[in-house]
Symmetry: C2
Subunit: 450 residues, 2 copies
């Protein structure tokens, strides 16, 4: 029965706990999050929300934590189809002998859209609502994200060598801007310019990147200091470490997002802090490729904004921010010898609001606060593996897995719930796998024979 004093709204989510990830780190118990036109319009006790609002849809989460949607701040969604194609191999031979040949053989606009849709499905079911991507054919990734109903910040890729996608740096840039034009009015998609890495992009190209980023007001997304090898080569070629080279070129700034940052000297951490740069920590990928362990505790101590990423599925082999949260928190303690470093609430912040900051979207997403977009993830704590519970934030980071995600909303739209996707058919994904897995299996077996 609608009381005359009640306001009509689209959606009320009544949750046992709301992990706001707001500045005060509030965890609210028995609270409702009220959504209208995709926006969070109120956060208040359940009993009050029942008095104040009448909703088209009410979702009761009796044993759940509602948290901001997770942000995967560095990935290559289209590598999902290369999951497990080559393991237990270091970065450069892995790239040169396995991944690049595979990409050369299969990557096309169709491939990227198919593989990105599979990645979107995996990410949505793991509570990820937004990803920061870098790959060929970003318009194909945009199409997949739009179908899935996910938010994505897509890199307009630039590399100084030709591919099926583009011929040279100018061609990459032009194709990127053409793609960027197609999603200008798409509320889910934003762009960065994405020079692949210091070792694959010339100074001349980086000058252009800076110019265009300024003109278009776009962020810059790159790989940086992932391996020692990269640093040694830069020293040899430019007599500069990559980060110094980028600083001298004028690339660093608050719109600069660097994936990895594994090998950083103290003065380089200072530099990143001074410029307000963002580091995306990808612990699984950095360990798996034996790149090393990023100095996350030191970065955080100096005030650098550190977000979390999965990297591509080929080097992880999961697109799972729960795994990265847990690993980031555990690793930071283990390598510093201080168990109080990177406590659970900070790991959760890295997976949410820090990611939003890196993408320049923290005014819109990354925490549960009035006037932000309703990008939300529900996680159940009524499993045997999560019983008992004493602190829901501890459980989100140390105990839960992505399998405990029950609902994922993007801008107030339910995009995933209990195994069902709003806009993706299971058969569609099966067909994608059936098309590409045999091609890549064949390639793997040929590589094995070499």
């Amino acid at each position: 029965m609608v009381k005359s004093s009640q306001s009509p709204v689209d959606l009320v989510i009544e949750a046992r706990w709301v992990a706001t990830v707001a500045a005060n780190q509030a965890v609210l118990e028995n609270y409702s999050v009220v959504v209208q036109s995709g926006i969070i319009v109120d956060v208040l006790p359940i009993l009050e929300s029942r008095q104040k609002y009448t909703a088209s849809s009410v979702v009761c989460l009796e044993n759940h934590v509602l948290m901001p949607g997770l942000i995967n701040c560095h990935t290559h969604a289209a590598m999902s189809l290369m999951r497990g194609l080559a393991d237990d191999i270091a970065l450069m031979p892995w790239l040169e002998q396995h991944i690049w040949p595979a990409e050369q053989a299969v990557v096309s606009e169709r491939y990227v859209q198919d593989a990105s849709l599979l990645a979107c499905a995996e990410m949505l079911s793991g509570g990820i609502t937004c990803f920061n991507d870098m790959y060929f054919y970003p318009q194909a990734t945009a199409a997949a994200a739009t179908q899935a109903g996910m938010r994505a910040n897509l890199g307009l890729l630039v590399i100084d060598f030709p591919s099926a996608y583009a011929n040279d740096a100018d061609d990459y840039l032009q194709k990127g801007f053409d793609a960027h034009d197609t999603w200008r009015n798409n509320p889910l998609i934003t762009s960065s310019i994405a020079p692949h890495a210091p070792y694959t992009v010339s100074n001349q190209t980086l000058h252009k990147v800076i110019t265009y980023a300024e003109q278009l007001g776009l962020g810059i997304h790159t790989h940086l200091h992932e391996t020692q090898d990269e640093i040694v080569k830069s020293d040899a070629q430019y007599s500069l470490r990559p980060i110094q080279r980028l600083a001298e070129l004028g690339l660093l700034g608050p719109n600069f997002v660097a994936a990895h940052g594994v090998h950083l000297l103290a003065n380089e951490i200072e530099l990143l802090a001074e410029y307000g740069c963002h580091i995306v920590h990808c612990p699984s990928s950095n360990l798996k490729l034996a790149s090393g362990i990023a100095p996350v505790a030191q970065l955080l101590a100096k005030g650098v904004n550190v977000a979390l990423g999965t990297d591509g599925a080929a080097s992880n082999n999961r697109l799972d921010i729960f795994a990265e949260m847990r690993l980031a928190a555990l690793l930071a303690k283990g390598v510093t010898g201080d168990a109080s470093v990177l406590p659970a609430h900070q790991a959760l912040a890295m997976a949410t609001i820090h990611g939003a900051k890196a993408l320049g979207l923290d005014h819109k997403i990354g925490s549960i606060e009035v006037a932000k977009l309703a990008d939300l993830t529900a996680v159940r704590l009524d499993d045997i593996a999560t019983a008992p519970y004493y602190d829901p934030i501890s459980h989100l980071v140390y105990c839960c897995g992505r399998e405990h995600v029950t609902h994922t909303w993007v801008a107030g739209e339910l995009r995933y719930s209990d195994g069902i996707y709003a806009n993706i058919e299971p058969n569609e994904l099966k067909e994608i796998v059936n098309v590409w897995q045999p091609k890549l299996s064949q390639l793997k077996s040929e590589q094995g024979k070499k």
Copy 2:
């Protein structure tokens, strides 16, 4: 229709892949595992098994890997109810200010049985068929494991300080032997003598441990070199590092199983290898308590048998050997800088056959081979998060989570399948949590006020 030439058997499991973890590392495709009276009696192609056997039960695993049941080689099952009670705190204050006071307040025979049953449920659903435990009231853990139908090697705990369970070392030993007598004819339960750690057990007690272990033919299970602090204190008290002290006392040998081994000098690794000792690597717990990272690559290179453990749920906060396999493989690469270290098949071996070796049970469990017990786990690879696949062993270690476990058999008996336990009622577990969670929550909130 039974053909006259067919042999009747209890169970045939037809699997897309069988990861044998045998010495030749064979992964068999479209093979059946045939079980009679709890024993694997044949492993052969599915088509042949259909000709040769008629089974009371046939299980078809069309998209699954069948692997040996996982072995959790160091845990404290009864700490499951303390999951997340205190996080982000170093080992000694964590023990002294949080865990030991909590234990003092709640631990009883009833508590241990309840908490162990919850742990058994969590472990079975995560594909673990056997655990190596150390806690007060081992007879209560035996009761829980027996109800769940799990295999357990239970430590007969010895500490040189009194508890609700026992008054002094002799009392601990006597209670342990009394417990041991109760499960002599229980095929699921075996024993080790478990001096808690070098820093909680005197030389006098350790002499008795050696004597009794020899007399009874039992293994020894202890914590060793978990933290630097432990080593510094031993140096001060005994002018010996703990491992030297144990070597001089005569404790080391092929029946000696040491959890952790985080801080080991090169000559100590040699010593462990020479004596044929076993190390149980507990990477999550070692990182979470900021103890450090065990030199697993070096241990393996010297031929030390390294198994995997979760440690207790209070310092992990999961009883999840999938998580430990993945973390062990990733960490070893990251800290050595060599991506080929600890490849997937070796991580799987650590979680299965290496654990069996540590427990002296490798003639019975740890691999899928004729004449071994049918302790088996099925893992599905038809999830979106595991698609596509190129190598099932890679997926088991790097991609799958425990949520992909569909069946767990112990000695040919199906103990867990798709959310259902053979011998544990969901309400039983709920009641356990309802009884103990409020008591421990109360304690946590009192500790918080201090």
